[in-house]
Amino acid sequence: MIELDNIYFAYPAGKVLDGVHLRVDKGEYVGLMGQNGSGKTTLARLINGLLQPNKGMVRVNGISTQDRTRLLEIRRSVGMVFQNPGAQAVGETVEEDLVFGLENLGLPISEIGQRIAQYLDLLGIPELRNRNINTLSGGQKQLVNLAAVMVMQPDCIILDEPVSMVDARHRKIVLQHIVQLNRNGTAVVNITHDPEELVECQKIIVLSEGKIAVQGTPVEVFDQLLNERMLEVPTAFALSKQLGLSPNLTIPGLLEELCQ
Protein backbone atom coordinates (compact mmCIF):
# COMPACT_ATOMS: atom_id res chain seq x y z
CA MET A 1 0.00 0.00 0.00
CA ILE A 2 3.01 2.29 0.38
CA GLU A 3 5.60 2.44 -2.37
CA LEU A 4 8.80 4.45 -2.48
CA ASP A 5 10.23 4.43 -5.96
CA ASN A 6 13.85 5.40 -6.52
CA ILE A 7 13.79 8.19 -3.97
CA TYR A 8 16.46 10.83 -3.91
CA PHE A 9 16.43 13.52 -1.25
CA ALA A 10 18.98 16.11 -0.24
CA TYR A 11 18.98 18.87 2.34
CA PRO A 12 21.08 22.00 1.70
CA ALA A 13 23.67 20.44 3.97
CA GLY A 14 23.99 17.28 1.93
CA LYS A 15 22.30 14.30 0.33
CA VAL A 16 20.37 12.03 2.61
CA LEU A 17 18.60 9.46 0.47
CA ASP A 18 20.05 8.08 -2.74
CA GLY A 19 18.01 5.68 -4.80
CA VAL A 20 15.76 4.07 -2.19
CA HIS A 21 13.10 1.51 -3.18
CA LEU A 22 10.76 0.44 -0.46
CA ARG A 23 7.39 -1.26 -0.13
CA VAL A 24 5.06 -1.64 2.79
CA ASP A 25 2.20 -4.03 2.18
CA LYS A 26 -1.21 -4.03 3.84
CA GLY A 27 -0.95 -5.27 7.40
CA GLU A 28 2.83 -5.68 7.29
CA TYR A 29 5.09 -4.95 10.26
CA VAL A 30 8.25 -3.32 8.97
CA GLY A 31 11.26 -2.28 10.98
CA LEU A 32 13.63 0.44 9.85
CA MET A 33 17.12 0.72 11.34
CA GLY A 34 20.11 2.90 10.68
CA GLN A 35 22.57 5.25 12.26
CA ASN A 36 21.83 8.91 12.85
CA GLY A 37 22.10 10.61 9.51
CA SER A 38 21.31 7.48 7.51
CA GLY A 39 18.04 9.00 6.35
CA LYS A 40 15.48 7.18 8.48
CA THR A 41 13.72 10.27 9.81
CA THR A 42 13.64 11.82 6.35
CA LEU A 43 12.14 8.64 4.95
CA ALA A 44 9.35 8.74 7.52
CA ARG A 45 8.41 12.27 6.57
CA LEU A 46 8.45 11.45 2.88
CA ILE A 47 5.83 8.78 3.30
CA ASN A 48 3.03 11.06 4.40
CA GLY A 49 4.05 14.02 2.35
CA LEU A 50 5.58 16.21 5.03
CA LEU A 51 8.57 16.28 2.73
CA GLN A 52 8.71 15.88 -1.04
CA PRO A 53 11.44 13.87 -2.77
CA ASN A 54 13.79 15.68 -5.15
CA LYS A 55 13.57 12.72 -7.51
CA GLY A 56 11.39 9.65 -7.59
CA MET A 57 7.88 9.16 -6.32
CA VAL A 58 6.14 8.17 -3.14
CA ARG A 59 2.76 6.51 -3.52
CA VAL A 60 0.22 5.70 -0.85
CA ASN A 61 -2.65 3.49 -2.06
CA GLY A 62 -1.65 4.52 -5.56
CA ILE A 63 -1.85 8.25 -4.83
CA SER A 64 1.33 10.25 -5.27
CA THR A 65 2.38 12.48 -2.36
CA GLN A 66 3.10 15.18 -4.89
CA ASP A 67 -0.62 15.53 -5.54
CA ARG A 68 -1.36 18.28 -3.07
CA THR A 69 -5.09 18.05 -3.52
CA ARG A 70 -5.07 14.52 -2.18
CA LEU A 71 -2.65 14.89 0.71
CA LEU A 72 -5.49 14.72 3.20
CA GLU A 73 -6.55 11.38 1.78
CA ILE A 74 -3.01 10.09 2.19
CA ARG A 75 -2.80 11.28 5.77
CA ARG A 76 -6.11 9.68 6.58
CA SER A 77 -4.53 6.43 5.56
CA VAL A 78 -1.09 6.89 7.10
CA GLY A 79 -0.76 8.17 10.64
CA MET A 80 2.43 9.16 12.34
CA VAL A 81 3.78 9.16 15.90
CA PHE A 82 6.94 11.16 16.52
CA GLN A 83 9.87 10.82 18.83
CA ASN A 84 9.30 13.58 21.38
CA PRO A 85 6.30 12.72 23.54
CA GLY A 86 5.87 16.32 24.62
CA ALA A 87 5.92 17.94 21.18
CA GLN A 88 2.80 16.41 19.63
CA ALA A 89 -0.02 17.44 21.92
CA VAL A 90 -2.62 19.67 20.41
CA GLY A 91 -5.19 19.92 23.13
CA GLU A 92 -5.03 20.81 26.78
CA THR A 93 -6.63 17.63 28.03
CA VAL A 94 -6.26 14.08 26.72
CA GLU A 95 -9.81 14.13 25.45
CA GLU A 96 -9.24 17.37 23.52
CA ASP A 97 -6.16 15.86 21.93
CA LEU A 98 -8.08 12.88 20.61
CA VAL A 99 -11.00 15.06 19.56
CA PHE A 100 -8.69 17.08 17.32
CA GLY A 101 -7.96 14.33 14.83
CA LEU A 102 -11.58 13.22 14.71
CA GLU A 103 -12.76 16.76 14.09
CA ASN A 104 -10.31 16.94 11.19
CA LEU A 105 -11.72 13.73 9.73
CA GLY A 106 -15.23 15.14 9.85
CA LEU A 107 -16.50 12.31 12.01
CA PRO A 108 -20.11 12.90 13.08
CA ILE A 109 -20.10 14.52 16.50
CA SER A 110 -22.32 11.86 17.99
CA GLU A 111 -19.69 9.22 17.26
CA ILE A 112 -16.67 11.11 18.55
CA GLY A 113 -17.23 10.53 22.27
CA GLN A 114 -17.69 6.83 21.86
CA ARG A 115 -14.69 6.39 19.58
CA ILE A 116 -12.48 8.14 22.10
CA ALA A 117 -13.69 5.92 24.93
CA GLN A 118 -13.05 2.85 22.80
CA TYR A 119 -9.43 3.66 22.10
CA LEU A 120 -8.57 4.96 25.56
CA ASP A 121 -9.86 1.63 26.85
CA LEU A 122 -7.83 -0.27 24.28
CA LEU A 123 -4.65 1.43 25.40
CA GLY A 124 -5.47 0.95 29.06
CA ILE A 125 -5.69 4.64 29.91
CA PRO A 126 -9.40 5.43 30.27
CA GLU A 127 -8.75 7.21 33.56
CA LEU A 128 -6.57 9.80 31.82
CA ARG A 129 -9.42 11.14 29.69
CA ASN A 130 -9.85 14.47 31.47
CA ARG A 131 -6.30 14.89 32.68
CA ASN A 132 -4.24 17.85 31.61
CA ILE A 133 -1.55 16.56 29.23
CA ASN A 134 1.11 18.70 30.90
CA THR A 135 0.78 16.68 34.08
CA LEU A 136 1.47 13.33 32.46
CA SER A 137 4.80 11.50 32.39
CA GLY A 138 6.66 11.09 29.10
CA GLY A 139 5.49 7.51 28.75
CA GLN A 140 1.87 8.43 29.35
CA LYS A 141 2.13 11.28 26.85
CA GLN A 142 3.37 8.91 24.19
CA LEU A 143 0.49 6.53 24.90
CA VAL A 144 -1.85 9.48 24.41
CA ASN A 145 -0.11 10.37 21.14
CA LEU A 146 -0.53 6.79 19.99
CA ALA A 147 -4.20 6.87 20.97
CA ALA A 148 -4.69 10.15 19.14
CA VAL A 149 -3.41 8.57 15.94
CA MET A 150 -5.07 5.18 16.40
CA VAL A 151 -8.42 6.81 17.04
CA MET A 152 -8.34 8.02 13.43
CA GLN A 153 -8.15 4.38 12.30
CA PRO A 154 -5.46 4.72 9.64
CA ASP A 155 -4.40 1.75 7.51
CA CYS A 156 -0.80 2.27 8.48
CA ILE A 157 1.02 3.93 11.38
CA ILE A 158 4.60 5.10 11.17
CA LEU A 159 6.47 5.49 14.42
CA ASP A 160 9.64 7.56 14.39
CA GLU A 161 11.72 6.39 17.38
CA PRO A 162 8.55 6.12 19.45
CA VAL A 163 10.14 5.04 22.72
CA SER A 164 13.60 6.58 22.69
CA MET A 165 12.45 9.33 25.06
CA VAL A 166 10.17 7.14 27.13
CA ASP A 167 10.88 5.54 30.50
CA ALA A 168 11.58 1.80 30.68
CA ARG A 169 8.26 0.74 32.12
CA HIS A 170 6.19 2.57 29.56
CA ARG A 171 8.51 1.52 26.78
CA LYS A 172 7.39 -2.09 27.18
CA ILE A 173 3.72 -1.06 27.29
CA VAL A 174 3.93 1.10 24.17
CA LEU A 175 5.78 -1.61 22.24
CA GLN A 176 3.22 -4.22 23.26
CA HIS A 177 0.46 -1.99 21.92
CA ILE A 178 2.32 -1.52 18.67
CA VAL A 179 2.60 -5.25 18.16
CA GLN A 180 -1.06 -5.70 19.03
CA LEU A 181 -1.99 -2.92 16.64
CA ASN A 182 -0.31 -4.85 13.86
CA ARG A 183 -1.96 -8.10 14.85
CA ASN A 184 -5.30 -6.35 14.48
CA GLY A 185 -4.50 -5.56 10.86
CA THR A 186 -2.83 -2.16 10.81
CA ALA A 187 0.44 -1.90 8.91
CA VAL A 188 3.22 -0.58 11.11
CA VAL A 189 6.59 0.95 10.31
CA ASN A 190 8.80 1.18 13.40
CA ILE A 191 11.90 3.36 12.99
CA THR A 192 14.44 2.85 15.74
CA HIS A 193 18.02 2.27 16.88
CA ASP A 194 17.07 -0.50 19.24
CA PRO A 195 16.98 -3.91 17.58
CA GLU A 196 15.09 -5.42 20.52
CA GLU A 197 12.02 -3.48 19.37
CA LEU A 198 12.01 -5.16 15.97
CA VAL A 199 12.01 -8.85 16.81
CA GLU A 200 8.37 -9.24 15.86
CA CYS A 201 8.72 -7.57 12.46
CA GLN A 202 8.02 -9.42 9.27
CA LYS A 203 10.62 -7.40 7.45
CA ILE A 204 13.56 -5.25 8.55
CA ILE A 205 15.26 -2.66 6.39
CA VAL A 206 18.65 -1.24 7.29
CA LEU A 207 19.61 2.14 5.89
CA SER A 208 23.19 3.22 5.58
CA GLU A 209 24.39 6.46 4.00
CA GLY A 210 21.15 7.01 2.16
CA LYS A 211 20.82 3.58 0.64
CA ILE A 212 19.30 0.31 1.73
CA ALA A 213 22.19 -1.78 3.01
CA VAL A 214 20.39 -4.87 4.22
CA GLN A 215 16.82 -6.10 3.87
CA GLY A 216 15.00 -9.26 4.86
CA THR A 217 13.46 -11.18 7.73
CA PRO A 218 14.74 -10.34 11.22
CA VAL A 219 16.88 -13.45 11.41
CA GLU A 220 18.43 -12.83 7.99
CA VAL A 221 19.12 -9.20 8.78
CA PHE A 222 20.54 -9.70 12.26
CA ASP A 223 22.72 -12.49 10.96
CA GLN A 224 24.25 -10.18 8.41
CA LEU A 225 24.58 -7.32 10.91
CA LEU A 226 26.32 -9.58 13.35
CA ASN A 227 28.75 -10.91 10.75
CA GLU A 228 29.58 -7.50 9.38
CA ARG A 229 29.60 -5.85 12.81
CA MET A 230 27.46 -3.06 11.49
CA LEU A 231 24.84 -2.28 14.08
CA GLU A 232 23.57 -3.80 17.28
CA VAL A 233 21.46 -6.93 17.29
CA PRO A 234 19.07 -8.23 19.92
CA THR A 235 20.89 -9.67 22.93
CA ALA A 236 19.10 -13.00 22.76
CA PHE A 237 20.08 -13.34 19.10
CA ALA A 238 23.75 -12.54 19.76
CA LEU A 239 23.85 -14.96 22.66
CA SER A 240 22.22 -17.71 20.62
CA LYS A 241 24.75 -17.34 17.86
CA GLN A 242 27.73 -17.21 20.17
CA LEU A 243 26.55 -20.33 21.94
CA GLY A 244 25.99 -22.12 18.68
CA LEU A 245 22.25 -22.46 19.21
CA SER A 246 19.57 -21.91 16.61
CA PRO A 247 18.89 -18.21 16.21
CA ASN A 248 16.49 -17.03 18.91
CA LEU A 249 15.16 -13.53 18.87
CA THR A 250 13.55 -13.48 22.26
CA ILE A 251 14.55 -14.42 25.77
CA PRO A 252 11.93 -17.13 26.32
CA GLY A 253 12.98 -18.86 23.10
CA LEU A 254 16.62 -18.74 24.10
CA LEU A 255 15.96 -19.96 27.60
CA GLU A 256 13.84 -22.82 26.36
CA GLU A 257 16.62 -24.08 24.18
CA LEU A 258 19.28 -23.57 26.81
CA CYS A 259 17.38 -25.43 29.45
CA GLN A 260 16.98 -28.60 27.47
Binding site: L50, R75, F82, G86, Q88, V90, G101, L107, I112
Partner: protein, 243 residues
Protein backbone atom coordinates in the same frame (compact mmCIF):
# COMPACT_ATOMS: atom_id res chain seq x y z
CA UNK B 1 3.18 37.00 35.19
CA UNK B 2 -0.45 37.64 35.69
CA UNK B 3 -0.93 34.15 37.03
CA UNK B 4 -2.10 30.77 35.92
CA UNK B 5 -5.34 28.92 35.62
CA UNK B 6 -6.20 26.81 38.65
CA UNK B 7 -8.92 24.23 38.30
CA UNK B 8 -11.67 24.68 40.85
CA UNK B 9 -15.44 24.93 41.14
CA UNK B 10 -15.87 28.44 42.50
CA UNK B 11 -18.87 30.40 41.27
CA UNK B 12 -16.68 32.44 38.96
CA UNK B 13 -15.11 29.29 37.53
CA UNK B 14 -18.55 28.05 36.65
CA UNK B 15 -19.38 31.00 34.44
CA UNK B 16 -19.17 30.43 30.71
CA UNK B 17 -15.84 31.70 29.30
CA UNK B 18 -17.70 33.81 26.76
CA UNK B 19 -19.51 35.59 29.55
CA UNK B 20 -16.26 36.27 31.35
CA UNK B 21 -14.56 37.56 28.24
CA UNK B 22 -17.41 39.96 27.51
CA UNK B 23 -17.60 41.10 31.12
CA UNK B 24 -13.85 41.64 31.12
CA UNK B 25 -14.09 43.88 28.07
CA UNK B 26 -16.95 45.74 29.68
CA UNK B 27 -15.01 46.10 32.90
CA UNK B 28 -12.04 47.50 31.00
CA UNK B 29 -14.33 50.19 29.59
CA UNK B 30 -15.73 50.88 33.04
CA UNK B 31 -12.26 51.22 34.51
CA UNK B 32 -11.28 53.59 31.77
CA UNK B 33 -14.24 55.92 32.18
CA UNK B 34 -15.04 55.71 35.87
CA UNK B 35 -14.75 58.59 38.29
CA UNK B 36 -12.33 58.31 41.22
CA UNK B 37 -15.13 57.38 43.61
CA UNK B 38 -16.34 54.68 41.20
CA UNK B 39 -12.78 53.38 40.94
CA UNK B 40 -12.68 52.89 44.67
CA UNK B 41 -15.93 50.97 44.44
CA UNK B 42 -14.44 48.76 41.70
CA UNK B 43 -11.44 48.17 43.94
CA UNK B 44 -13.60 46.99 46.80
CA UNK B 45 -15.57 44.87 44.34
CA UNK B 46 -12.51 43.04 43.00
CA UNK B 47 -11.29 42.40 46.54
CA UNK B 48 -14.62 40.63 47.12
CA UNK B 49 -14.44 38.77 43.82
CA UNK B 50 -11.04 37.39 44.65
CA UNK B 51 -11.99 34.94 47.40
CA UNK B 52 -15.21 34.19 45.51
CA UNK B 53 -13.04 32.86 42.72
CA UNK B 54 -10.78 30.85 44.97
CA UNK B 55 -7.80 33.17 44.72
CA UNK B 56 -6.54 34.48 48.07
CA UNK B 57 -6.21 38.27 48.09
CA UNK B 58 -2.51 37.91 48.84
CA UNK B 59 -1.90 36.23 45.51
CA UNK B 60 -4.03 38.80 43.75
CA UNK B 61 -1.85 41.56 45.14
CA UNK B 62 1.21 39.51 44.28
CA UNK B 63 0.30 39.66 40.61
CA UNK B 64 1.10 43.38 40.77
CA UNK B 65 4.70 42.84 41.74
CA UNK B 66 6.24 42.54 38.28
CA UNK B 67 4.74 45.88 37.25
CA UNK B 68 5.52 48.00 40.30
CA UNK B 69 8.38 49.69 38.51
CA UNK B 70 6.11 50.55 35.61
CA UNK B 71 3.59 52.08 38.00
CA UNK B 72 6.31 54.07 39.68
CA UNK B 73 7.41 55.55 36.38
CA UNK B 74 3.86 56.46 35.32
CA UNK B 75 3.20 58.06 38.69
CA UNK B 76 6.41 60.04 38.54
CA UNK B 77 5.69 61.30 35.03
CA UNK B 78 2.32 62.60 36.12
CA UNK B 79 3.73 64.24 39.23
CA UNK B 80 6.39 66.05 37.24
CA UNK B 81 4.55 67.01 34.10
CA UNK B 82 1.05 67.89 35.15
CA UNK B 83 0.60 71.65 35.42
CA UNK B 84 -0.80 73.01 38.67
CA UNK B 85 -0.04 74.12 42.18
CA UNK B 86 3.46 73.17 43.37
CA UNK B 87 3.67 70.29 45.82
CA UNK B 88 6.60 71.45 47.91
CA UNK B 89 8.62 74.62 47.96
CA UNK B 90 11.89 73.16 46.74
CA UNK B 91 10.27 70.91 44.10
CA UNK B 92 8.76 73.43 41.68
CA UNK B 93 7.96 70.81 39.04
CA UNK B 94 6.05 68.45 41.28
CA UNK B 95 2.42 69.45 41.50
CA UNK B 96 -0.47 68.49 43.72
CA UNK B 97 -2.61 67.88 40.63
CA UNK B 98 0.18 65.60 39.36
CA UNK B 99 0.03 63.44 42.46
CA UNK B 100 -3.73 63.24 42.12
CA UNK B 101 -3.90 62.33 38.41
CA UNK B 102 -0.87 60.06 38.74
CA UNK B 103 -2.54 58.19 41.55
CA UNK B 104 -5.77 57.80 39.61
CA UNK B 105 -3.95 56.52 36.51
CA UNK B 106 -2.01 53.99 38.54
CA UNK B 107 -5.23 52.90 40.21
CA UNK B 108 -6.79 52.28 36.80
CA UNK B 109 -3.87 50.09 35.81
CA UNK B 110 -3.97 48.24 39.09
CA UNK B 111 -7.65 47.46 38.64
CA UNK B 112 -7.09 46.31 35.06
CA UNK B 113 -4.41 43.89 36.16
CA UNK B 114 -6.36 42.58 39.08
CA UNK B 115 -9.49 41.89 37.04
CA UNK B 116 -7.40 40.21 34.35
CA UNK B 117 -5.76 38.04 37.00
CA UNK B 118 -9.15 36.84 38.13
CA UNK B 119 -10.15 36.14 34.54
CA UNK B 120 -7.06 34.04 33.93
CA UNK B 121 -7.32 32.32 37.28
CA UNK B 122 -10.86 31.17 36.60
CA UNK B 123 -10.81 30.44 32.88
CA UNK B 124 -8.91 27.53 31.37
CA UNK B 125 -6.90 28.21 28.21
CA UNK B 126 -9.24 26.00 26.22
CA UNK B 127 -12.17 27.93 27.66
CA UNK B 128 -10.63 31.19 26.53
CA UNK B 129 -9.96 29.63 23.16
CA UNK B 130 -13.57 28.50 22.90
CA UNK B 131 -14.73 32.04 23.60
CA UNK B 132 -12.28 33.44 21.07
CA UNK B 133 -13.43 30.99 18.43
CA UNK B 134 -17.05 31.87 19.13
CA UNK B 135 -16.51 35.57 18.68
CA UNK B 136 -14.29 35.23 15.64
CA UNK B 137 -16.82 33.07 13.83
CA UNK B 138 -18.18 36.01 11.81
CA UNK B 139 -14.74 36.31 10.21
CA UNK B 140 -15.24 32.92 8.59
CA UNK B 141 -12.36 30.59 7.84
CA UNK B 142 -9.82 33.25 8.64
CA UNK B 143 -11.29 33.84 12.07
CA UNK B 144 -11.47 30.16 12.96
CA UNK B 145 -7.90 29.54 11.85
CA UNK B 146 -6.76 32.54 13.85
CA UNK B 147 -8.53 31.28 16.93
CA UNK B 148 -7.05 27.82 16.47
CA UNK B 149 -3.54 29.22 16.12
CA UNK B 150 -4.00 31.26 19.28
CA UNK B 151 -5.12 28.15 21.11
CA UNK B 152 -2.10 26.16 20.05
CA UNK B 153 0.20 29.05 20.89
CA UNK B 154 -1.24 29.11 24.40
CA UNK B 155 -0.29 25.49 24.95
CA UNK B 156 3.27 26.34 24.04
CA UNK B 157 3.66 29.08 26.63
CA UNK B 158 4.35 26.90 29.69
CA UNK B 159 6.97 25.04 27.67
CA UNK B 160 8.56 28.33 26.75
CA UNK B 161 8.98 29.29 30.38
CA UNK B 162 10.36 25.86 31.19
CA UNK B 163 12.91 26.20 28.39
CA UNK B 164 13.98 29.60 29.65
CA UNK B 165 14.69 28.20 33.09
CA UNK B 166 16.72 25.32 31.68
CA UNK B 167 18.73 27.49 29.32
CA UNK B 168 19.42 30.05 32.02
CA UNK B 169 20.81 27.36 34.30
CA UNK B 170 22.90 25.74 31.59
CA UNK B 171 24.45 28.98 30.43
CA UNK B 172 25.16 30.13 33.97
CA UNK B 173 27.00 26.88 34.50
CA UNK B 174 29.06 27.63 31.38
CA UNK B 175 30.09 31.00 32.73
CA UNK B 176 27.65 33.37 31.04
CA UNK B 177 26.38 36.14 33.26
CA UNK B 178 25.02 39.64 32.92
CA UNK B 179 24.55 41.24 29.52
CA UNK B 180 26.26 38.47 27.62
CA UNK B 181 23.92 36.14 29.42
CA UNK B 182 21.05 37.65 27.46
CA UNK B 183 22.37 36.55 24.04
CA UNK B 184 23.29 33.25 25.63
CA UNK B 185 19.64 32.85 26.54
CA UNK B 186 17.99 34.14 23.39
CA UNK B 187 19.88 32.22 20.71
CA UNK B 188 19.35 28.70 22.10
CA UNK B 189 15.80 29.68 23.02
CA UNK B 190 14.97 30.68 19.47
CA UNK B 191 16.65 27.59 18.11
CA UNK B 192 14.80 25.25 20.44
CA UNK B 193 11.50 27.06 20.00
CA UNK B 194 11.63 26.85 16.22
CA UNK B 195 12.52 23.19 16.49
CA UNK B 196 9.62 22.57 18.86
CA UNK B 197 7.15 24.45 16.65
CA UNK B 198 8.41 22.50 13.64
CA UNK B 199 7.72 19.22 15.40
CA UNK B 200 4.29 20.36 16.45
CA UNK B 201 3.35 21.46 12.95
CA UNK B 202 4.45 18.07 11.61
CA UNK B 203 2.17 16.44 14.15
CA UNK B 204 -0.73 18.73 13.27
CA UNK B 205 -0.39 18.10 9.56
CA UNK B 206 -0.04 14.37 10.06
CA UNK B 207 -3.32 14.37 11.90
CA UNK B 208 -5.05 15.89 8.89
CA UNK B 209 -5.32 19.44 10.12
CA UNK B 210 -6.54 21.67 7.35
CA UNK B 211 -7.82 25.19 7.08
CA UNK B 212 -11.57 25.52 7.10
CA UNK B 213 -12.43 22.85 9.64
CA UNK B 214 -16.09 23.12 10.41
CA UNK B 215 -16.76 20.20 12.71
CA UNK B 216 -16.64 21.07 16.38
CA UNK B 217 -17.14 18.63 19.21
CA UNK B 218 -17.32 20.98 22.16
CA UNK B 219 -20.33 23.20 22.67
CA UNK B 220 -21.28 25.17 25.69
CA UNK B 221 -24.61 26.47 26.90
CA UNK B 222 -25.11 29.61 28.86
CA UNK B 223 -26.73 29.07 32.22
CA UNK B 224 -28.70 31.13 34.69
CA UNK B 225 -25.46 32.09 36.42
CA UNK B 226 -24.22 33.77 33.26
CA UNK B 227 -27.34 35.89 32.93
CA UNK B 228 -27.16 36.77 36.62
CA UNK B 229 -23.53 37.86 36.27
CA UNK B 230 -24.46 39.86 33.20
CA UNK B 231 -27.26 41.58 35.04
CA UNK B 232 -25.05 42.40 38.02
CA UNK B 233 -22.50 43.88 35.68
CA UNK B 234 -25.04 46.01 33.81
CA UNK B 235 -26.26 47.44 37.13
CA UNK B 236 -22.70 48.27 38.19
CA UNK B 237 -22.02 49.83 34.81
CA UNK B 238 -25.10 52.02 35.03
CA UNK B 239 -24.29 53.06 38.59
CA UNK B 240 -20.77 54.00 37.60
CA UNK B 241 -21.71 56.16 34.69
CA UNK B 242 -24.97 57.66 35.89
CA UNK B 243 -24.11 58.46 39.46
Amino acid sequence: MIGKYVHSSSSIHQLDPRTKLVLMLGMSLAIYGASPAALLFLLVFVLFLSPASGMPVKRLLGSLRPVLLFFGIIFLMHVLFTPGAPLLENLPFATVEGVWTGGIQVLRFILLIMYTSILIHTTSPSGLNYALMYFLRPLGTFGMDLAFMTGVAMTLIPDLFREITIIKKAQTARGYRGIKGFTALVVPLLYRSFHRVDELSDALESRCFHSGRRNYYYTRMLSGKDFLAGAVFVIIFILIFMV
